[in-house]
Every structure is written in C-alpha cells, then in structure tokens.
Amino acid sequence: MTKPSFPAPERICVPCRLAAIGAVVLAMAGGFAYVAGWLTPQRLTTHRIINAFEADNGSHPGFRRNHAKGVCVSGYFDSNGKAAALSTAGVFAPGLTPVIGRFAIPGGNPSAPDTSVPIRSLALLFTQHDGEQWRTGMNSVPVFPVHTPEQFYQQLVAAKPDPATGKPDPAALKAFYAANPETHPFLAWVKGHAPSSSFANGSYYSVNAFRFVDAQGEGHAVRWAMVPETPFAPVTDEQNSEKNFLQADLAARLQAGPLRWHLIVTQAAPGDPTDDATLQWPDGRQQIDAGTLVIEHETSQDDGPCRDVNFDPTVLPAGIRTSNDPLLAARSAAYSVSYNRRTREEALDPNLHRLQPNGDRP
C-alpha cells in the first residue's frame, strides 16, 4: 500500500481527532483549575485563611483583616553601623533612614477595646536611599502561638464566635491548645508577662527568624526586636476600664517629644531552629544594638501614611532574606489577599474612612 500524497478526509477518524483536541484543552484547563485550588475546596488557601478572619470578626469594609485597630506613626532609623558586618542592607550603614509605621492590636475588629488582647504590634516600612524597602511586622510577644499555617487556620476556626453568645467557645479554644502543644510557650509567655501600659514602653519582636547576608555573601540567622528606651510599666486598672487608652496615650507622649527604641539583632547559634516561630532561642546569644528607631509623629489610620501600606514581612532589601519559617510565606500570601480586599472596598466606597458627624463610621 502506498501513502497517498493528499490524504482524503474520510481516511482520518475525525471524531477521534476532535476528541484528542478536546482532551488536550480539558487537561490544560483542569491543571489550571487545580493549581488555582478550584478543584480542592478543602485545601487551605490564602482565601480560606482570610475568610476565617472575616468569619471570626465580622465585616469591617476597608480595614485590615487582622490588626485592624491601629495608628500611623512616622520618624526615622538612626543606624550606628554595627549591624553592617552582618548585613549589606543600606539601612544598616551609618546614617538615617526614613520610617513610617503603625502601632496596632491583633484582631480583625477596628472598634475592639484595647483591653481585648494582651498583645500590641508594631509594623515598620524603612525606605532606603537606594529606593529599596524593608517592611516588618512585629509583636510584643517574642514567640508565635503556632508553627504552621494549617495550625493557624485551626486556631481561627476554634476562635470562631458562637452565634448564641457572640463569643468564642472557651472549650473549643482549650481543646485546640491541648491538641497543639506548640502553643504552650506562647501561652506561658502571655501568662507571665503583663501587657504594657502604652505602645511606647513595649518591646516588639520579629517573631520569625530571618537571614542577614554580609558582604562576603555569608548568611546569618537572626531575629530582631525593637526595645524601648521608655521604661516598661504594666497596664493599670484605670486603663483597663477605658476602651481606647493606647492611641490617646501615644499622642500625649509624642506631644512631649519623640519616642525611641533600640533595634537589637540576635544571632542564632548553630542548631537554633529558624523554621519554628513557637520556639525562643536560648539566652546568651550574641546581640547587636544596630541603632535607634525614633518615632516623632502619629496620625489616624483613617488618612495617615500607613493606611495604604501592606506590611508584608517578605519585602526585604538586598542583605536581608527570609528564613525557612513556613509562616513567612503564608503571612505574605494572606496579607496580600487582605490588602486586595480592603483596597477594593475603599475603591468602591470612597467615603469608607470618613467619619460621620456623630463620630461613627459609615
């Protein structure tokens, strides 16, 4: 049999070939849908994490899904050059770097009382002279309650308010803590440390480990903390009876002059875990005082410079890298969804952050 030079159309199986084309297209569409997570609704995605925040805290359009209540601040970082041996980042060269930031409390409700949580947070955005940015979000507790994004999600589910009481079911949270012993160092720390009386006298910790990279390309596992010059004082009974003492206190202190913290960089010893934010490194690790954070001004987060900033802790200048901590990528991915949602809400309703004459939010 000789091959015809022009294949006659009836020689080919048209339905077979159409089916083959269909199979190729379906396989590609299916692969795309799988990667997007559309075929596996039980898989934990960025959207499910943020949905869980919304389920726990209710709808607060235009606000961050976590650490919703806060205040913008600005100032500068005065580097003394001591950390430059560990990291080539411009921020550690001697000199000043402008900083904007945000003090906040955890939780997704922007009207929550300051006493609702024993934790405060400080997020910062350093803009280096070469245009590179360093963004960090720090907490007043040096360890995180959970090790993995999955545990974090389970904790959110356990903290979901009971529709009958409007409050989380203490038994569900207790069961979660019992089932996840990684939470115990965090719980012990909170139990042993009273909350600060002010944003100004709290220490703020990077929680996750990072890697500083020096001029030789050598990596150094580090954590950092902002340690206040203002002496620590625990929250008072009088403050506990007020709803919003933290912002008023900060404003009053800044009226009197700038507030200062020291950036303390702690280097890991070989063998210290860098992938587990629930574990503190032992005492006695080498520490460097890298310079002074000077906070000069505070502004409302309704129109302050921090409002439109996503304090994504993986935005790092050359000279600082993420560690292998699984929470860092998850924070970056989830913050991005929170930011996309709140900016969309702002775009759709320009009056969102304008207070009504009676002081209420629209």
Partner: protein
C-alpha cells in the same frame, strides 16, 4: 507590497514557541502564587515579576517583526466567520501579551510595592501610589489573565484543528519552515 510567505520566519517561530512556554508558565505561576500559603508562594512571586518583564520585552520585538514581515495568508477555503475569529483572536492575544506585564508593573507601582527583578535590582514605579488605581489594576490583572488563558486555549484548539483535521498548512506555517523542493 510586502512579499508573502507560506511559513513564519525562523525568528518568528522561535519567538512564538518560546513565548508560548513562558506565557503558559506565567499563567500557572500567577494562579498558583495567589492561592498557596506554602514556601512556593515566595518562589513563584520571585519568578513572576522578572518573567513578566521578559515577556514584555519579547512581545515588543515580536510586534515589530509581525509589522515588518507580516504573517502567512490564511487558506482561501476558510469560511469568513473562521477568518474573522482568527484575526480577532490574534489581536486579543497581542493586546493581552502587551497589556498584562504593563498592568502588573503599574499595579505594583500603585501599591507602592517594590518592583523587584532580582537581588537589589528594581524597576521604577510607573504609576503614583494610589490604592483606588491599585484596586482597579489588581482586578484587571486577574480578569485579563483569565481571558488570556481562555484565548490561549482557543488558540491551541484552533491550531490543532488546523493541524489534525483541516490539514491546511496553517499549523505547519508555525511548526516548521518551508520544505525545499
């Protein structure tokens, strides 16, 4: 009048197949990185930005080539509707290949986010820091990516239809060069 060729030039074919691979990679990287909470998120983001800029540069070169050399004519026996769909879908593909990287770059600029290529190398912002603009561009980036993926699938199905069923030389005009007699 421009001379007509039965096949795309070797450079056009090289660009087409290279970009086909890059764009498919980009679409899967994009849809994966916004969903995953794993370490892959950081890696995929780090790939997405420089790959997008690479596609932007390649598509500029490709548009120039297409304007200079044109494309092989479609077979005479193709129905008018098919010809119209073919022309329109190629316009959509070119428009999206150009628009997607520019929207991505603009979107990061409007967010005030660094447009990191690699190490300390950044691109400048091409839009002011404005979250309303960001919200619009961010939504566009998603919806146009989905449109691009659907158009790519249609393009693939049509190419296979030409190659396997019509067997009219349209597929081979991009798959190989002219055979010497």
């Amino acid at each position: 009048m421009k001379p007509t060729y039965a096949h795309f030039s070797p450079l056009q074919r090289l660009l087409h197949w290279t970009m086909a691979l890059l764009i498919l990679t980009m679409l899967f990287v994009g849809v994966g990185m916004v969903a995953t909470l794993s370490h892959a998120h950081d890696t995929l983001i780090a790939i997405h930005r420089p790959l997008g800029i690479a596609i932007l540069l390649l598509v500029l070169l490709r548009i120039g080539l297409r304007l200079r050399r044109g494309s092989p004519p479609l077979p005479n026996d193709m129905p008018t509707l098919q010809r119209t769909v073919a022309r329109l879908s190629h316009l959509v593909l070119y428009a999206l290949m150009l628009a997607m990287p520019l929207i991505g770059w603009s979107m990061l600029s409007a967010e005030g986010y660094p447009v990191t290529m690699f190490g300390g190398v950044h691109l400048p912002a091409i839009m002011p820091h404005d979250i309303r603009l960001f919200a619009l561009l961010r939504a566009l980036h998603t919806y146009l990516a989905l449109l691009l993926f659907v158009t790519v699938l249609g393009h693939l199905a049509a190419a296979l239809f030409h190659g396997l069923i019509r067997r009219d030389g349209v597929f081979s005009s991009m798959a190989r060069g002219a055979r010497r007699a």
